[in-house]
Amino acid sequence: MSLDITTTETTDKPWLISPLARMILQRLVAAVVVLFVVTILIFAFIHAAPGGPEQAIGGREATPELLESIREENHLNDPLWQQYTTFVTNLLHGDLGTSYTRREPVSTSIATAAGVTLPLLLATWVLSTVIGGALGLYTARRQGSRADRAVIGFTVVGASSPVFATGVLLSYVFGVKLGWLPTLGSGDGGMDTVKHLILPVLTTTIVLMASTTRFARVRFGQVLEEDQVTFARSRGLSSRYIVKTVVLKNSGVQMITLAGAVLVAMTGGLVVVEQVYGLQGIGTLLITGITMRDIPIVQGVTLVIALMVVVINLVVDVLCFVIDPRLRKGLEATS
């Protein structure tokens, strides 16, 4: 859903801001609407699920009176609209609430979990897109060669293997057989944390590289077959120059879009690798929150994930407009 703010202007009057800035403004307004809808949906789903947080808080021997007392104390007996209004009001004041089970502000829980997930996410993202892109380019230029077949074979295996299976295999090789790396937990900070993150990063990178490599191979291959590349070669331009000025530029929009899609997929999709390696990241926090019916945690984490997805998509769109003049012109033409 988006708001068309151009309807308040006549078409023959020039805009005071650039088309790009206007597009960003439109997306931000749309983002607010999206986030609003997300909060309503999550709120509805978590309240519709059987079982309530009072059971997690009170434990298995809780009496009906205690359960009722916990519900009252946490305003869980208030009408849903009232609970939602309170949540949104607090949210507008920057307060995500307090976790029922952890007894700490949700923002603190999220920040702690993000300290695990963000390095994992960013390292995996950079490695899978850069290495995947490089392998894609390499194989696109050597289609049908042994190297091409080897890389394609690797990507098929990578794409076919479940994350947990890849994780266990790597843990066995690097943790058990070689004894190089720890396989459980997130470490004590600093280099210890870096060491604990190597295997999760490697696992996720292998799985994601399967997609990025194949996508890059196809896209680079398409560009390499275009007339402009043939013409450039006939002019005697070097391969490096052609790759840099023709292939990469003409594939830029698709590669940035792919990188954005990978990042979006990873934002909420690292839960399996977190479980395998015992990492208390955002995914694990969300799963635990759902299991324990810790409503503030679930609402807070989903909101943050939704926000990240919106921001990533916005950044991707902006980057595409920046690097591709055709898109900029299209935008200007429609404004």
């Binding site: 066995y172 479980q275 015992g278």
Partner: protein
């Protein structure tokens, strides 16, 4: 491509490979966690769970293994079953409902503040308050008053005799009132670590995942022997086994029964086992048709091959349960010969016999059988396996089941709290104290959470009350309990299936002496030996 370009490319690849190998080698050289553990006195364990907070109201069972090393109890449970003074110097029982504790002198919290009777009173009132969210609030609901007298006396008066209360005291760690006054509900979170009088301090805590304890330098007693104790949760089954194989960990406690065979195959680790105080059971909601008909309940009981469940699902790592209390627990409290005889009789009533099952069903209100949905907790895969296994035999007598996997809270809501399931459920129930009364009380008395069957037999209630009123040394206690179990066995509100064993695996040369199902209540670090 020119030769010079090819060579340049190969050089770059070679440099990259060397850099990667160097990085990994560096990581290998600096990967000290696995090699240093035992030598440096670090103890690293894999545990099944960790709390969301170290507030004493939110911990119980295995998490007490860490909690009680920091927050010592007034009285300590010992592996031989005795409960002995710890922070108390003496205890007296003027009557079965009054416990008088004398606080030992000169004890301080890890922040240097002195331990007072007000701290003890406050620690207990966290659990006994009417609106307490303590996991053990039910046990404390029997407390009428907690009073202090002078500078060293704490007097607890119960509403009625409760032989389990001595264990309740041994499970509650003492906290600092001043610390709680200052920090409120934040105590026990990563930013506000819990403090106590014990030999260890909380050093690092990741909720529901990792905890590291370090020695309390000012501890009054013998200096703690481990430089650190780290407990990590491994959720994934395969990851748990691999993590142990890396050598990073010294052991795993209470692993899932389904993984015991995997751990037994590991080189360098030795297993320990003990009977668990708990059981898997089939519950019948006696307030719901058709399970309000005892013939239906008996038909299902006779169609349940419990030995096949033990052999097929748990590979023999459990023993068939004739009743709610494991024989070893009951025998420890009474005359073993008398207990054995009673258990033989109880077991004979639970025979697997499909002809008898059909005969019972024909006498029931549903002679042609019926369809049934069984909710199972997906967090415990054994429940689903049990349901599917018994479903095959139930189909033979005309009862067709479907299994519905639910998450923990959904399952709890349907089975324990709102009783919205069809009326037959499968669960495991563990005893919270070593007293034989624990499971019968929680599962047979009306209104209690564990009484999924909504069973209410005044005669059984009276017998259980009578048991509670007797002194723990009274030899007539066990016969009273056996009679209650016999009567409830005839009523059959639930079918006891089997008692699983509890396991721990430690590196060769390490052993947890006197390992039993309540090891976490003991000062277990003193019992952990290395050779």
């Amino acid at each position: 491509m020119k030769m010079s370009q090819i060579l340049a490319t190969r050089r770059r690849v070679a440099v990259l490979v060397i850099a990667l190998v160097s990085t990994l080698a560096l990581a290998a050289c600096t990967s000290s966690a696995s090699d240093e553990a035992a030598d440096d006195g670090d103890l690293n364990l894999i545990v099944p769970s960790a709390p969301a907070s170290w507030d004493t109201r939110q911990t119980g069972s295995l998490t007490l293994a860490a909690q009680l090393l920091v927050n010592e109890p007034l009285m300590t449970y010992q592996a031989d079953g005795a409960v002995v003074p710890n922070l108390a110097s003496a205890v007296a029982n003027p009557s079965l409902t009054v416990y008088e504790y004398t606080l030992a002198e000169g004890i301080t919290f890890s922040d240097g503040s002195p331990l007072t009777v007000e701290d003890v009173k406050f620690s207990y009132e966290l659990h006994s308050a009417a609106d307490s969210t303590s996991y053990t609030a039910a046990a404390w609901s029997q407390v009428e008053s907690i009073e202090t007298s002078g500078n060293d006396k704490i007097v607890i008066t119960l509403k009625a005799p409760d032989p389990q209360f001595r264990y309740t005291i041994a499970k509650v760690g003492i906290v600092s009132k001043a610390y709680y006054d200052e920090h409120g509900d934040a105590v026990g979170t990563p930013d506000v670590p819990q403090i106590g009088t014990g030999p260890y301090l909380f050093d690092r805590f990741v909720p529901q995942s990792e905890t590291t304890l370090v020695p309390n330098p000012d501890y009054r007693g013998e200096k703690p022997r481990f430089k650190s104790i780290t407990m990590k949760v491994a959720k994934d089954d395969a990851a748990r086994v691999v993590a142990l194989q890396t050598g990073e960990f010294d052991g795993v406690v209470s692993p899932p029964l389904s993984q015991i065979a995997s751990f037994e195959d590991l080189d360098g680790f030795t297993g320990q086992e003990a009977p668990d105080f708990g059981l898997y059971r089939i519950n019948f909601d006696t307030k719901k048709a058709p399970f309000d008909d005892v013939h239906v309940r008996k038909a299902i009981m006779h169609a349940t091959n419990r030995q096949a469940l033990v052999d097929g699902i748990f590979a023999g790592q459990a023993t068939v349960a004739p009743t709610l209390v494991p024989e070893s627990i009951m025998a420890a409290a009474g005359d073993p010969a008398e207990v054995k005889q009673a258990y033989v009789e109880l077991e004979s009533d639970l025979a697997f016999d499909l002809d008898a099952a059909r005969a019972e069903l024909e006498q029931s209100s549903r002679p042609d059988g019926f369809d049934l949905e069984i909710p199972v907790d997906q967090g415990d895969p054994s429940q689903s396996l049990i349901a599917q296994t018994i479903g095959q035999d139930l189909a033979e007598i005309g009862i067709n089941i479907t299994v519905k996997a639910m998450d923990q809270q959904g399952h709890g809501d349907a089975v324990y709290f709102k009783h919205t399931a069809d009326g037959l459920s499968i669960d495991s129930w563990n005893g919270g104290t070593p007293d034989p009364l624990n499971i019968p009380k929680n599962t047979l008395l009306p209104g209690l959470f564990g009484n999924v069957a909504q069973y209410d037999n005044p005669e059984v209630t009276e017998l259980l009350d009578a048991y509670q009123a007797l002194d723990v040394e009274d030899p007539t206690r066990v016969p009273v309990l056996l009679k209650a179990l016999s009567i409830s066995g005839d009523d059959l509100p639930m079918v006891p299936l089997f008692t699983p064993k509890v396991f721990a695996f430690f590196k060769d040369g390490m052993e947890l002496k006197n390992f039993d199902t309540f090891w976490y209540m003991t000062r277990w670090t003193d019992n952990l030996t290395t050779s």
